[in-house]
C-alpha cells in the first residue's frame, strides 16, 4: 500500500497529518496560522486559515511542477536585408503566441504568483516536430499563417521560431496563500472541499475545488491541474439558498447544506462540465431537525443533523446523485468526511476523537462500526489537559446552541455582512503590534496576525457562546498591566460588539485581555481556552501583563504529554488517504513497546530488515549448525532410522487433449515423489486418461519439467506444464483444476517438487534471468554458466523457470541483486530479496520479505453503433455487423454484464465508464467514427462516417503477496538499472526511469544496501518519453513518445543526470518503441516489430552512426552486461503450434560479432517481458581444436 496521509485540524486550529504507515499525528509546523478547515487530495491539501484566505499545501514530490511558457518570434524576408523583424502592417506581432493573434513579449510573461520561480532564461527551441533544426530553430513558410517546415525554400517569405522558458512551482510542502486576483473577491471563505479527480484525468492532476463564503455563496475554482496547482480564478455558482457547507466527492457527486437544513445536490456534473448545471433539493433526513453537515464520496453520501445523528444515503451514484433514502446510523458525530474508496472519517460529538468507519467495502458502503483513532501526537505543545467532562460539555453545549439559534441566523449573518469587510484590516494590525509591544519577554509569537472573525458557518455562535461563558471576570483583574493595550483592545472589541448584538459589552474587553491570541478559532477553542486561561491567570500573575497564547502555551508545556491525554479534533479530511477495508492500519492501538515501533520502521525501510539481523536469530542459526556438526558429522555412516519411501498425490483434473478435436477431457493426475540415495529427490507426473474406452497415460519426469505456468482463462483454473520437448512443439500439457485453491495447491506442490529435483532453494541469485507473462506472473531462471557460451550454449528451451509471487508488467535488474518492477497500474516495486508469496505458502516461501501487493488494470468493451437516415446513430446494426457491445475485435459479444475480470483473482473496483483516452482520439461523448466496421477510427464525424464506437472501461484489482515493496510515490512506465560486471564494486548504482506521464527521472542513492534509493532527480525534456536504458560506462539512451531516440551526454558518477540530450534520428519511416543498452551494444525495437542494432558506436562517438536491421517480429529486447541479446519474439512456429510472445536468445554474439547470427527459441508463448541484465557470468572458455 502506498503511504498516504490523513489530515486533521484540532480545536486549536493546528493542522496535523497522520501517515498510513505511521503511528503519530505530525503537526504541520510550517502552518503560520491556525486553520479552520482542510480538504485533502492525494497530491495536495487545501485549507482555510483563520484569516479566511485559502491556502494550498502541495506535497513535495520528486517530480517538479513545471510549466512551459512559450512565445514565437516572427520574421519576414525582404529583398534588402533578408529576414528581419520588420513585418508588413497586416502581419502578426513580431512577438506572438502560437496563433499569432496575441501579442506576447518575452518580458511580458509574468510569474502567476510568488509561489513560482523561473527555472532559467528564455531559450530557442531547436527541435521541430521531433527533429533538430539547423539554423537557430527557425521554421519557414510562404506566409503567415501557414504550414511551417524546417527547410528553407525559395518561396519561404516568413519564418518563425519558438522561445521556451520554464517556471517551477516552489512552494512545496508549505502553506502558500492563494492570491486573490479579483478585486471584488468573494467575501471570506468559510468552507472548502476538493474532489472530482476521477471524472477527468486530463489535464493531469485536475481537481474540482468548491468553496463557500460567509454569505452562503458557492464558488468554484477554475483551472486547477498539475501544472497549475493554484488554479486560475473563482467562479460564482448560483445557489437556491444560503449554503453553509459543501462536499465534493472524488467522482461527480457534489452536495451542500443550506442554512435551513435542507441539502442540495449538484446535477449535470460531468467530464466536460465539472461545475455541473443545476441544483436539486433533498430534504433533511429528519424533517424536524435540519442537516448541518454533508460528506460525499464516489457512491455514498453521509449527513449529520443538528442533533448530531449520523445518516447514510442509500442508492447514491453518478446516475442518481440524489440517492433514494436515508438510513439512520449509530453514533453521534459533529462532522463526517469521506475519503478515497468511500472510506468514512468522522469526529465524535462527545469526545472529539477522529473515528474511522470500519468495514466499508464496495458491497457494504455503510460499513460496520466506528473505531476511534488513538495515536499520540508529536505535540510538545499540547494543551489538552481538559477533563473529559469539559470536553463533553464543550461539544454538547455548542450544538445545543445551534439548535436553539437556527431561527435567528439570518439576522446575525446580515449584521455580519455589514461589519465583516471593514473589520478585518482594522483588527489585524493594531492587535499584533500590541502583542509585540507588551510581550517582549515571551517567545516570539509564531502566529501571524489573526483577526477575529467569529462567524465560521456553524461556528457562528461563538460569540454567544463566549459571552455566555463570561470568562473575563478573573482575567480582567489581572489585565490591568497595560492600559494602552486595553485601549487598543477595547477599540477592537467594539468592532466585535457590532457583530454580536446580543452579547453584553462587558464580555469583550475581558475576552480580549484574557486570551488576546485566541481571537480566532473553532468554537471549542474559544471555550476551552477561556477555561484554561482562568486558572492560568490566577496562578501566574507575573505573566498577567499580557495573557497571550504564548503564556498559555508555556503553561501547557509544563504539563508533559500524557498517554491518557485526549486530543480534541475539529476537522478531518481523508481525501488524500488511500486506505480500504483491507488496509492494515496501526492507528488503533498505541505503540507502547519497541517491537511494534520496530515493525513500523520495518515497513518503512525498503532495505535491510532489522529482525533479520537480530542477535537471537543469529545465535539460533549458529547453534543449529554447530549442533549438526556435533551430532551428525562424525556419524554419517550410521543407518537412518526411517527409510525413505514413495509418496503419491493424486487428484482429478481436466486435460486439454493433445489430438483433434481438442477439448477438455477428465483425467486423473498423480505425482509420485521418491527420494533416491543421498537424499536426492525426484518424481514422475502421470496423466491417466481414457481413449476409446481404453485406459492410457502420459507421463513426465519432474526433473524434465522446465516450467509450470498459470494460464489466463476466465472460466477455468488452468495451468501449463512444459518440458524441453513440449517447448519445441509449442504444445504444453494444459490442465485445469476444479477450483482455484486446488490449482494453487498443485502448483505449489509441483513447483516445490521441481525445485527439489533440481536442488534449487531460496531466493533467486543475483545473476537470475527474470521474465513476466501476459498474465503478470513473474518467473526467474538461474542461468547455467554455459548459457552464453560460444559456440555451444545451453539451449534455452532447457532453462528451468520458477515462479515468484507478485504481479508486474515489467521487471529490471542487475547483477548486484537490485531488481525493480512496475505494475500494470504503474506502481514501482522493489524486490525485497525474498521468494514465494502468492500461492506459494509454507516452505516454498520466505517468511520475511513477503508483502501484500496490489495491481489495478482496466477491462475494455466497445459500444458500436450504425447510422441510419431516420433515427441517426442507433444500436441497431446491419445483420452482418458486429455485436453492438463487443470486444476490441468486434468478434465476441461483451456486454457490461457479461464482461468478466481477467481471472477470478481480480475483482471489480469501479463501475463502467466511457474511456476517452483511446488512441485516435474521441469526441466529447467518447465516440470514434469510421466509414464502416472494422476501419480506422477518428474523433470527429464526417459525411462518410456511418458507424461509430466508443470504449468503456472498468477497473479491476488484484491483491496478492510477493517479495515486493512499493517505491512511492511516482508511478512509472519504464525503469533501467546499470548492468555491472559480476565482481564489480559500484557504490551508487545509476537507476533511471520514465514516469507514467513521460518525465525522465534519475534515482539517487541506490546502493546494494538501499536498493530503493532515496529520491528522484527530475531530468528535463522538451517532450514526454516512453523508454529508457542505461548501459555500461553511463550510456543512457531513451525513446521519446514521438518515436525518436535520444542519447544523454556526460552521464558519470559525479554528474549522475548528465547534461543534455542528443537527438538520434529513428530508422527511416519507423517510430522506435524501446531501447536497450548493454556493455557496448545498443538495440532498439520499433512499433512495427523490427529490431535494430546501432552501428558505429565508439567511446569517442557514443551516439553511433546508423541503425542496422537485425530481425522482425520482435516485441521487446533485453541486452545484458555481456552484450548478450534476448528478445520476446512475436511469433514462433513449433512442430505442433505457433506461439506468440516467446523468449528467444541471440546465438553467435561475440565481441567481434555483436549482432549475432541466429535465434534460439525458449519458453513461450504468452511472454511479455524478459531481462537478462543480471546475468554477468562469463561463459567458460572453449577452445576449438
Amino acid at each position: 500500500m502506498p503511504v498516504s496521509l490523513l489530515w486533521a485540524v484540532d480545536v486549536f486550529g493546528r493542522v496535523y497529518s497522520l501517515s498510513t504507515a505511521g503511528q503519530l499525528w505530525e503537526q504541520c509546523r510550517d502552518a503560520q496560522m491556525e486553520f479552520k478547515r482542510v480538504t485533502a487530495a492525494q497530491q495536495c491539501c487545501w485549507g482555510i486559515a483563520c484569516d479566511n484566505s485559502i491556502y494550498l499545501n502541495v506535497h513535495a514530490s520528486d517530480l517538479p511542477v513545471r510549466h512551459q511558457e512559450d512565445a514565437y518570434e516572427n520574421q519576414r524576408w525582404n529583398p534588402v536585408g533578408g529576414f528581419s523583424d520588420r513585418l508588413l502592417p497586416s502581419d502578426r506581432w513580431q512577438w506572438s503566441d502560437v496563433t499569432g493573434l496575441q501579442h506576447q513579449l518575452l518580458d511580458g510573461v509574468q510569474l502567476p504568483s510568488s509561489s513560482w520561480e523561473w527555472e532559467g532564461d528564455w531559450y530557442v527551441d531547436e527541435n521541430f516536430e521531433g527533429d533538430p533544426t539547423e539554423k537557430g530553430g527557425w521554421t519557414y513558410a510562404m506566409d503567415f499563417p501557414a504550414t511551417y517546415t524546417k527547410d528553407k525554400k525559395w518561396n519561404s517569405c516568413v519564418r518563425r521560431r519558438r522561445w521556451l522558458r520554464y517556471r517551477r512551482y516552489k512552494a512545496m510542502d508549505t502553506w502558500a496563500k492563494i492570491p486573490s486576483q479579483q478585486t471584488t473577491l468573494p467575501d471570506p471563505f468559510s468552507d472548502i472541499s476538493c474532489g472530482g479527480w476521477e471524472i477527468n484525468e486530463e489535464p493531469r492532476g485536475r481537481l474540482s475545488l468548491w468553496a463557500v463564503s460567509l454569505q452562503g455563496k458557492v464558488w468554484f475554482r477554475e483551472g486547477i491541474c498539475h501544472h497549475n496547482p493554484e488554479g486560475s480564478s473563482w467562479e460564482e455558482v448560483d445557489v437556491p439558498g444560503e449554503v453553509v457547507q459543501i462536499s465534493c466527492g472524488p467522482g461527480d457527486l457534489v452536495w451542500a447544506v443550506l442554512w435551513e437544513g435542507q441539502l442540495i445536490v449538484r446535477e449535470g456534473v460531468s467530464r466536460d462540465c465539472p461545475k455541473g448545471t443545476s441544483w436539486a433539493v433533498v430534504e433533511s433526513p429528519n424533517p424536524e431537525v435540519g442537516a448541518t453537515h454533508i460528506a460525499v464520496g464516489v457512491n455514498v453520501a453521509w449527513a449529520v443533523t443538528k442533533d448530531n445523528k449520523v445518516w447514510f444515503r442509500r442508492g447514491v451514484n453518478s446516475h442518481n446523485p440524489r440517492g433514494s433514502g436515508w438510513i439512520s446510523m449509530v453514533g453521534e458525530m459533529i462532522m463526517i468526511n469521506i475519503g478515497l474508496n468511500d472510506q468514512v472519517w468522522a469526529i465524535g460529538c462527545e469526545d472529539r476523537a477522529v473515528y474511522f468507519r470500519q468495514g466499508v467495502t464496495s458491497s457494504e458502503l455503510s460499513g460496520k462500526t466506528w473505531k476511534a483513532i488513538s495515536v499520540p501526537r508529536d505535540g510538545e505543545r499540547s494543551h489538552s489537559s481538559a477533563s473529559a467532562n469539559s470536553i463533553q460539555s464543550a461539544g454538547c453545549f455548542f450544538f445545543g446552541e445551534v439548535r436553539d439559534q437556527s431561527g435567528g441566523s439570518d439576522v446575525e449573518s446580515d449584521v455580519e455582512k455589514g461589519s465583516a469587510d471593514g473589520a478585518f484590516g482594522l483588527m489585524a494590525a493594531p492587535e499584533s503590534s500590541a502583542d509585540a509591544a507588551t510581550n517582549p519577554s515571551s517567545d516570539p509569537p509564531v502566529e501571524a496576525p489573526k483577526p477575529r472573525i467569529p462567524k465560521v458557518t456553524s461556528d457562528s455562535f461563538i460569540s454567544e457562546l463566549v459571552s455566555d461563558q463570561e470568562p473575563g471576570k478573573t482575567s480582567r483583574d489581572v489585565g490591568s498591566a497595560g492600559p494602552a493595550v486595553l485601549e487598543e483592545e477595547e477599540a477592537v472589541s467594539g468592532e466585535g460588539d457590532v457583530k454580536i448584538p446580543s452579547a453584553g459589552a462587558g464580555r469583550s474587553p475581558s475576552q480580549r485581555a484574557g486570551a488576546p491570541d485566541l481571537q480566532w478559532s473553532n468554537v471549542d477553542l474559544e471555550e476551552m481556552q477561556a477555561r484554561h486561561v482562568q486558572p492560568a491567570a490566577g496562578q501566574d500573575a507575573s505573566d498577567s501583563c499580557s495573557l497571550s497564547s504564548v503564556a498559555t502555551y508555556t503553561l501547557a508545556m509544563e504539563d508533559p504529554y500524557g498517554a491518557d491525554e485526549h486530543p480534541l479534533w475539529a476537522w478531518v479530511s481523508g481525501g488524500g488517504c488511500s486506505v480500504d477495508s483491507h488496509t492494515q492500519l496501526n492507528w488503533f492501538i498505541c505503540p507502547l513497546n519497541t517491537s511494534s515501533l520496530h515493525q513500523s520502521v520495518q515497513s518503512l525501510s525498503l532495505s535491510m530488515t532489522p529482525t533479520q539481523t537480530a542477535a537471537w536469530r543469529k545465535q539460533i542459526f549458529e547453534q543449529l549448525s554447530e549442533r549438526s556438526k556435533r551430532e551428525l558429522d562424525n556419524f554419517k555412516h550410521y543407518e537412518q532410522a526411517v527409510e525413505q519411501s514413495v509418496w503419491v498425490k493424486k487428484g482429478a483434473m481436466q486435460w486439454w487433449r493433445d489430438w483433434k478435436p481438442h477439448k477438455w477431457a477428465d483425467v486423473h493426475f498423480a505425482l509420485e515423489q521418491f527420494s533416491g540415495p543421498e537424499g536426492y529427490k525426484d518424481g514422475i507426473l502421470f496423466i491417466y486418461y481414457s481413449h476409446h474406452e481404453e485406459k492410457k497415460y502420459l507421463h513426465a519426469f519432474i526433473n524434465e519439467v522446465t516450467i509450470l505456468v498459470p494460464v489466463l482463462n476466465d472460466s477455468k483454473h488452468t495451468f501449463a506444464i512444459y518440458t524441453p520437448e513440449r517447448t519445441k512443439q509449442r504444445w504444453p500439457f494444459r490442465l485445469a483444476a476444479a477450483t482455484e485453491l486446488e490449482m494453487h495447491d498443485w502448483l505449489a506442490l509441483l513447483s516445490a517438487s521441481c525445485c527439489d529435483a533440481r536442488g534449487i532453494h531460496g531466493p533467486p541469485t543475483k545473476q537470475a534471468i527474470w521474465s513476466i507473462t501476459c498474465k503478470g506472473d513473474i518467473f526467474v531462471s538461474e542461468p547455467a554458466p554455459a548459457l552464453e557460451a560460444a559456440p555451444y550454449p545451453t539451449p534455452c528451451d532447457q532453462m528451468f523457470w520458477r515462479q515468484v509471487g507478485g504481479h508486474l508488467r515489467l521487471v529490471e535488474c542487475n547483477s548486484l541483486g537490485i531488481a525493480w518492477g512496475i505494475g500494470y497500474d504503474h506502481t514501482a516495486w522493489l524486490y525485497t530479496g525474498g521468494y514465494g508469496g502468492g500461492f506459494f505458502q509454507g516452505l516454498s516461501s520466505s517468511t520475511d520479505n513477503i508483502y501484500t501487493q496490489t495491481d489495478v488494470k482496466s477491462v475494455y468493451i466497445y459500444e458500436n453503433q450504425r447510422w441510419n437516415p431516420v433515427t441517426g446513430y442507433t444500436s441497431r446494426g446491419l445483420p452482418t455487423d458486429r455485436f453492438m457491445w463487443s470486444d476490441a475485435s468486434g468478434l465476441h459479444e461483451r456486454t457490461k454484464t457479461s464482461a468478466k475480470p481477467p481471472s477470478t483473482q481480480w475483482t471489480w473496483v469501479s463501475d463502467w465508464a466511457v474511456d476517452y483516452s483511446v488512441s485516435g482520439g474521441a469526441d466529447k461523448e467518447g465516440w470514434q467514427y469510421a466509414a464502416d466496421f472494422p476501419a480506422s477510427y477518428h474523433s470527429y464525424k464526417t459525411m462518410k462516417d456511418f458507424v461509430r464506437r466508443r470504449r468503456w472501461a472498468r477497473k479491476c484489482k488484484l491483491t496478492t503477496t510477493g517479495p515486493w515493496q512499493e517505491i512511492p510515490p511516482i508511478p512509472l512506465s519504464d525503469v533501467t538499472i546499470l548492468p555491472c560486471p559480476s565482481n564489480s564494486s559500484v557504490d551508487t548504482v545509476p537507476v533511471w526511469a520514465i514516469s507514467s506521464k513521460g518525465d525522465v527521472l534519475c534515482r539517487l542513492g541506490v546502493t546494494t544496501l538501499t536498493p530503493a534509493g532515496s529520491s528522484w532527480l527530475h531530468v528535463g525534456t522538451d517532450q514526454p518519453f516512453k523508454s529508457i536504458s542505461i548501459g555500461a560506462a553511463g550510456q543512457v539512451w531513451a525513446v521519446a513518445r514521438d518515436g525518436s531516440a535520444f542519447y544523454r551526454g556526460s552521464v558519470s558518477a559525479q554528474n549522475p543526470a548528465g547534461d543534455c540530450w542528443y537527438h538520434i534520428p529513428s530508422p527511416a519511416k519507423q517510430k522506435l518503441k524501446q531501447v536497450c543498452v548493454g556493455r557496448t551494444s545498443i538495440y532498439s525495437v520499433d512499433e512495427n516489430g523490427n529490431l535494430w542494432y546501432r552501428q558505429g558506436v565508439a567511446p569517442s562517438y557514443p551516439q553511433g552512426s546508423s541503425w542496422e536491421h537485425i530481425s522482425n517480429n520482435v516485441r521487446k529486447v533485453s541486452v545484458g552486461p555481456l552484450d548478450q541479446v534476448w528478445i520476446i519474439a512475436d511469433k514462433v512456429q513449433g512442430s505442433h503450434s505457433l506461439s506468440c510472445g516467446t523468449v528467444c536468445h541471440r546465438l553467435g554474439v561475440h565481441p567481434f560479432e555483436p549482432k549475432g547470427q541466429s535465434w534460439d527459441y525458449g519458453i513461450g508463448g504468452g511472454w511479455e517481458h524478459i531481462t537478462v541484465r543480471g546475468n554477468s557470468m562469463e561463459p567458460p572458455r572453449v577452445f576449438l581444436p
Binding site: 547453534q623 543449529l624 551428525l632 562424525n634 556419524f635 532410522a641 516445490a752 509454507g842 516452505l843 520475511d848
Partner: protein
C-alpha cells in the same frame, strides 16, 4: 542470508547418533552386537526402533521376548517424550553416540506407559496436536481439518516426510496478524533434577501492554531458578532441540520454528555440567 525456513528443516532433520546395546541380563542365544542408528530428534522411540527390535530378536528366543523398553544410565526412557527431549534431558553434554540399553523384560510399569502398537503413539501425537491447537487457536484450526489432513500430519512424522508434514502443519502455525501471535504458547518445561513431570501453564506470546514476550519472560514466570541472576554462576542450561537460544528470543518465533511436530515447545532446563 539464512532463512527461517532453514530452521524448520534443521529442526526436522536433527538426528542423534545412538548405540543400542542389549541389557546383559537378557537371555540370548548368542552374543548381541550393539546396533547403531541415527534417531530423528522429533520422533518417538517406538516409532523408529523397529530395526532395533528386529536386530535383537534375531539373537533371542521368542518366549524370552516381552515388550521392548529403553533405559539410559538407569533411567527408563519415556517413549511419549520426543527423542530429542529425552536426549537433552538425560544425556546432553555426554559423549556421542548416545548409549541406550534395550530391555525385553521387567517392564517398569511404574515409570513407563505401555506401547503395544503405533496407533497408541498416533493417538498420543494427535492428542498433543489438538491440545496445542486448543491453546493456540481455541482448536479452530485442528477442528477445521479433515481426517485425511490429520493423517497427513501423522504420516509425515511416521515416514519422516518433512514436506508432507509441513504442507499441513503450516496451517497450525498461522495466526491473525493483528493479534501478533497465538492465543497461548503451547510449551512444556522439563527439569532434569525434578520428580515433577513438567511445567505447563497458560502463557501468552504478547503481554497485555502489547510487548512481545521472550523466552526469558517465560522462564521468569514459570521457572525463575533457570535464570542466572547478576553476578551469579550460571546454573542451568536451557535447551531446545539441543541448542541454547538467547533469552531475548521472541516466544512466538520459537513456538513457530522450534516446536516439535506435536506443536509443543519442549524446553529442557538442565544443570550446567561441572567439569
Amino acid at each position: 542470508m539464512a532463512d527461517d525456513k532453514d530452521v524448520l528443516r534443521d529442526v526436522w532433520f536433527g538426528r542423534i547418533p545412538t548405540c543400542f546395546t542389549l541389557n546383559p541380563d537378557e537371555i540370548t542365544e548368542r552374543e548381541a552386537e550393539p546396533y547403531y542408528l541415527l534417531l530423528p530428534r522429533v520422533s518417538y522411540l517406538p516409532l523408529v526402533t523397529d530395526k532395533v527390535k528386529k536386530h535383537f530378536h534375531k539373537v533371542m528366543k521368542a518366549e524370552d521376548v516381552e515388550e521392548m523398553w529403553f533405559e539410559y544410565e538407569g533411567t527408563p526412557l519415556k517413549w511419549h517424550y520426543p527423542i530429542g527431549v529425552l536426549f537433552d534431558l538425560h544425556a546432553s553434554n555426554t559423549v556421542l553416540p548416545w548409549s541406550i540399553t534395550v530391555h525385553f523384560k521387567s517392564f517398569p510399569d511404574r515409570d513407563l506407559l505401555h506401547c503395544p502398537s503405533n496407533s497408541i503413539i498416533e493417538a498420543h501425537f494427535m492428542s498433543s496436536i489438538k491440545e496445542a491447537d486448543a491453546l493456540k487457536h481455541k482448536s479452530q484450526v485442528v477442528n477445521d481439518m479433515q481426517k485425511k489432513d490429520h493423517k497427513q500430519l501423522w504420516m509425515g512424522l511416521q515416514n519422516d516426510k518433512f514436506d508432507q508434514f509441513w504442507a499441513m502443519n503450516r496451517k497450525l502455525m498461522e495466526y491473525p496478524t493483528e493479534e501478533g501471535g497465538f492465543r497461548y504458547i503451547p510449551f512444556r518445561i522439563y527439569q532434569a533434577l525434578s520428580e515433577r513431570l513438567f511445567i505447563q501453564k497458560l502463557f501468552r506470546p504478547v503481554s497485555p501492554e502489547g510487548n512481545t514476550h521472550t523466552l526469558g519472560d517465560l522462564l521468569k514466570e514459570m521457572y525463575p531458578d533457570a535464570l542466572t541472576n547478576d553476578g551469579e554462576q550460571k546454573r542451568y542450561q536451557v535447551l531446545i532441540h539441543g541448542i541454547e537460544p538467547l533469552l531475548e528470543t521472541p516466544l512466538q518465533w520459537l513456538s513457530e520454528h522450534l516446536s516439535h511436530p506435536d506443536n509443543f515447545l519442549h524446553i529442557c532446563a538442565i544443570p550446567v555440567p561441572t567439569d
